[in-house]
């Protein structure tokens, strides 16, 4: 070894801001709204490599929708989208509170990320399938999955569709295009590719959407999904929700100091796009583009939704222990509900009064449903699933050893 070599040291990336620091997003490059052109859906992924380093944005600072990606939704659809996001936020607030009251064990909210799942949902069609993580309940809300059923599961009461077997927010609804959430991270990403391959094998036109967080892109399943999606040109849209934080770990630990999460798609020849995840119009427009590519057999698309987890990871998490309390307020892409509201006001299709009225209506609706769910029961009181249910459904037909164990348990 030559004399000019110094001892090595380990590089451990650090976020720009820890508790007590002033948030600083000055390194975060945000392109002007409307500045990224919308390519044809049959574009060669190689020709849009720059889109993995830019950010598709539609709503500008003045609340106007600008550029090629604007104009995909009617004002009626935008008002409905606003209502979906407001409903999800209200639902979350009530359930966070219910958890603190001991009515359920655990909850995970979407605060700041409502646009991602609510807007994406609109680009999918009946018969398509999402393979979500635990922070995409907007896919259900926007598909009119009954809030009562969601709450019955959150409370693990006698009407819980999953009979108390699964964690509170790990929903499942084939009918609503929502694959059973595992809770293990990353596993569903490759399953979405398999589902999409099955559609192609069957000669159907249905498509799948996989979901994964920034932190979980480090899992081997991410790589597996990308390889299979690329090799078989699966009709799938692969979504990375980059909300900057994986519990207490900032996104740089999964990404390293290089490139973007979207750029991971380049090695696989997969069309890769970053989108402003707090811009309802941008998320929807990019999702629509990617879904059309998939449905026309033009191949998979990797979308990085750039957003911010404004709340804790879950009810078991206190973010003030690892990040600045003012970071959420300093997040430069703003709040998705506020931005869509401002847009609708700007174009004369909404007002502060109507917004307040809508908030009151939604709260009333959610509280009414909540009372109905709590009348059945919560984890703490009321009617609960039978202990027999834990033995049911392990197999289609219960084998004799399980029957014996159920009898031994006294059920």
């Amino acid at each position: 070894m030559s004399d000019d070599v110094s001892p090595l040291s380990l590089n451990v990336p650090e976020p720009g801001c820890r508790p007590g620091d002033s948030p600083d997003f000055s390194d975060f490059e945000i392109p002007r709204a409307g500045s990224v052109p919308r390519p044809a859906v049959d574009v060669d992924p190689d020709e849009i490599r720059d889109m993995a380093f830019s950010i598709v944005r539609v709503l500008n600072k003045n609340g106007e929708a600008v550029g090629d990606w604007a104009g995909a939704l009617s004002t009626e659809e935008l008002r409905e989208g606003l209502r979906h996001m407001m409903t999800l936020r209200t639902f979350d607030a009530r359930m966070m509170n219910a958890q603190r009251q001991g009515k359920t064990s655990f909850y995970m909210q979407h605060l700041g990320e409502e646009a991602v799942s609510c807007a994406f949902s609109r680009a999918m069609q009946p018969g398509d399938m999402n393979f979500p993580t635990y922070r995409q309940a907007g896919l259900l809300i926007a598909r009119d999955y009954p809030m009562l059923t969601m709450m019955n599961q959150i409370y693990s009461n006698a009407e819980d569709p999953l009979h108390g077997r699964q964690l509170p927010i790990m929903y499942s609804s084939k009918e609503h295009g929502f694959f059973s959430i595992s809770g293990n991270l990353g596993t569903q990403f490759v399953q979405s590719v398999g589902w999409a391959m099955a559609s192609a094998i069957s000669g159907d036109t249905r498509i799948a959407a996989g979901w994964i967080g920034d932190g979980s892109t480090a899992e081997s399943d991410f790589h597996a999904a990308m390889v299979f999606a690329s090799t078989y040109k699966a009709p799938v849209v692969l979504n990375i929700v980059n909300n900057q934080w994986a519990i207490s770990t900032f996104q740089g630990i999964a990404r390293g100091g290089v490139g973007t999460f979207a750029a991971r798609g380049h090695g696989f020849g997969i069309a890769s796009i970053r989108v402003d995840g707090n811009d309802y119009l941008a998320v929807h427009s990019v999702a629509k583009w990617a879904c059309e590519r998939a449905r026309r057999g033009l191949g998979p698309t990797l979308i990085e939704h750039v957003t911010y987890r404004a709340g804790g990871h879950s009810t078991s998490d206190d973010p003030s222990a690892y990040r600045s309390k003012s970071e959420a307020a300093a997040w430069p892409l703003g709040d998705p509900i506020e931005r869509l509201k401002q847009h609708l006001i700007t174009i004369g299709e909404w007002s502060e009064e109507r917004h307040k009225q809508a908030e009151a209506e939604i709260l009333d609706q959610v509280v009414t449903v909540q009372k109905e769910a709590e009348a059945v029961g919560t984890l703490a009181a009321g009617k609960t699933p039978s202990p027999r249910d834990m033995f049911e459904g392990v197999y289609e037909t219960m084998p004799s050893h399980l029957i014996r164990q159920r009898q031994e348990a006294g059920f």
Binding site: M129, F131, P161, L162, H163, R165, Q166, M170, S172, S173, K174, F179, S180, S182, N184, T187, V190, Q191, S192, V193, G194, W195, A196, M197, A198, S199, A200, I201, S202, A208, S220, D221, H223, A224, A225, V227, F228, T231, G393, V394, Y395, E396, P399, S400, H401
Partner: protein, 337 residues
Amino acid sequence: MAQMTMIEAIREAHDVAMAADERVVVYGEDVGYFGGVFRCTAGLQEKYGKSRCFDAPINEAGIVGTAIGMAAYGLKPVIEIQFADYVYPAYDQIVSEAARLRHRSNADFTCPIVIRMPTGGGIFGGQTHSQSPEALFTHVSGLKVVMPSNPRDAKGLLLASIADPDPVIFFEPKRLYNGPFDGHHDRPIVSWKKHPLGEVPDGDDIVPLGKAALRREGNDVTVLAYGTMVYVAEAAAEATGVDAEILDLRTLLPLDLDAIVDSVRKTGRCVIVHEATRTSGFGAELMSLVQEACFYHLEAPMIRVTGWDTPYPHAQEWEYFPGPGRVGEALKKVMED
């Protein structure tokens, strides 16, 4: 009836299932054009097309993960892991996903997949081509675990596994692919050509899951075995003259406990044989079950003959492999106790 090797029987089971049901798709490493490194899927791509039988990237988690997605769609994937030794990258997908999907979604989604893999030693495969990891799967609720020991069962059990509504781990003892093997590695290789269990019924007759087979009737001692060990036990019984009753378990989960209990209550003695390592091996489960159900019928302590708790060695293969010598000693000892 046709006389077949185990490879041919497995290939025919695929063929029968694919002809009967277009939802059956087959893939894995080297499985498509080439037909698998052991040739179990040879000819299927040519016959059924590339979208129903194809090569997969070398990524076991991806192979199983995509199969789960396909099963959720409504297909019936029958996938090959090239060696059981390679299944570990897929363990999370099998344990956390395939095995639990029905339960956690209350049957909103189910997972009727078959994961085939060659298992076991006796081929100088060293530590990465010889393992017997069945106990890692019998420990998992929601799975079924199958291991045939002959061509007839291989076809019938594979057809039953493909028809099953739940995920099945299907172990194929690779030393038995071309003929029965009794552990006498120094003797000439025997083929399936003249063996009665090499006669395989035509068509779609299944061998039901969860049923053991009586391979040798006897009165002195019950031997619980599966896979290659069935033939080792037969050789040991012949060599020692111990009148052993040999049960080929065939399905480990769910287990045919009735057949085991009936036999042990009759003989009053029990020897358990498997290739896998001993500690926390499937033999421990068998011993517990027999103890719970047959304690007052036992006339001697039960004995396990297993692989040692070491990685599967290369040069020391025959000192590791539970051959007829070690099984014979166990038979004699259990009769003396």
